[in-house]
């Protein structure tokens, strides 16, 4: 487990140190509100509202620009628990990029493994994106995340936890169109058994195998609520 995170940090650092001046960066804030409702036969419906606010951007040669823009995304998911701690989910995402509506269909298989000192989550996902002014693209994704209690051996009510997400994406758009790596450390708090909030930093590198690379840094806030 530790190896995965060490490799991820290594990848990020190596890429940063070799990044040429032409590489670009963006930064801003992201907020996610997730509300899930459990239904019969182990079905769950989830709605997620995501707001993305880009504050600035630039490149590593020193040029900066302040081009704030805002995007709103709405996710609608249906998921079914197939086995204990294992879920399959299908969803639709609508994004508003400056008046242009982008559609995305999502499919994913996720499983959670409780371990001695932390809980491990893994996800394999596929999504297809298209829109009026957007070329059709497919992304294949693998994410591994871990949740560490900061008190005791399990996360209980009103207790803090550390969550680390690490995701790898391969993008197909008229052939292979690059890869992306994400590393997202977060501090979370369990508020009641079905309610949690998280704050953290979302770090992304687009075009990891090519130049110019695009680095993204987002301050993130997540809220999860599950209604029985």
């Amino acid at each position: 487990m530790n190896k995965v995170f060490i490799i991820s940090f290594f990848l990020l650092n190596v890429t940063l140190s070799f990044s040429q001046d032409i590489s670009t960066y963006r930064y801003g804030i992201r907020g996610n509100a997730n509300i899930s409702k459990c239904f019969e036969k182990n079905w769950t419906g989830t709605i997620r509202l995501r707001g993305i606010g880009q504050i600035g951007s630039g490149d590593f040669s020193g040029s900066r620009e302040r081009l704030p823009n805002e995007t709103l995304e709405l996710f609608i998911w249906g998921s079914k628990r197939l086995k204990p701690n294992t879920k399959v989910a299908f969803g639709y995402t609508g994004s508003d990029f400056g008046g242009d509506l982008i559609h995305r269909f999502n499919q994913q298989y996720s499983w959670v493994t409780p371990l001695q000192h932390f809980t491990l989550g893994q996800r394999i996902a596929l999504d297809e994106t298209f829109g009026k002014s957007s070329i059709f693209r497919i992304r294949a994704r693998y994410r591994i995340n871990a949740q560490f209690p900061l008190s005791g051996q399990a996360v209980n009510d009103n207790e803090l936890y550390l969550k680390v997400n690490n995701e790898y994406l391969g993008i197909l758009r008229n052939g292979f169109d690059g890869a992306e790596v994400r590393l997202i450390p977060m501090l979370g708090m369990q508020l009641g058994n079905q309610n949690k909030i998280e704050l953290g930093l979302d770090n992304r590198i687009n075009n990891i195998f090519a130049n110019p690379r695009d680095f993204q840094f987002w301050a993130v806030a997540n809220w999860y609520l599950t209604l029985e």
């Binding site: 182990n42 086995k83 989910a89 079905q194 609520l225």
Partner: protein
Amino acid sequence: MSIHSLLLAVLFSILVLSTQAQVKIEREYRIKEKFVPQQAQQFFDSLALQSKVKWYSEKSDLGQRIEAKTKFQGEYYSVRFDRTGTFLDLQVQRSLKTIDSLTQQAIVHSLNTQFKKWKVDKVQFQYQGSFEQVKQSVYAATDESVIPPSYEIDVTALTEDDQDIYQLLYSHSGDMLKKSIFATYSMTNLEF
């Protein structure tokens, strides 16, 4: 009232309501060694497990307990005491496969009968008895224990409509002695 204020009020109400709906069965906190009853420390030291120990205070519907956790020769040990330091039991984490095959079959049959789909999260061999008996059992091979262990098994199980986490206690011969249900926590943040 503006639409923003209304939205905030609704979100706040949902947050408060869901926080009140919590169910709590067991909760543990890390404690410093200086707060551990002397009797408990002496017993733990006498086991001579020669490994680093972490002490916890465990609060549950059964009251408050003191728990020492350590890893010894690749196995996780948990020694429980009451709040005065009187020894309660010793648990060693092992896999289901290490249980005697006849008992194992009885346990698997019991789980199949109770649940549609299930997955074992943790199996602990539980030793109860006198200080000396338990100490001897720690160093004995599994099938040569001075006192026969009972088996505490944590299971994640799918019921018809939901997923729940159970803790089941089986006797050495595989009879179910106790069944508890844990408060479950949504794992949406690891799944989506």
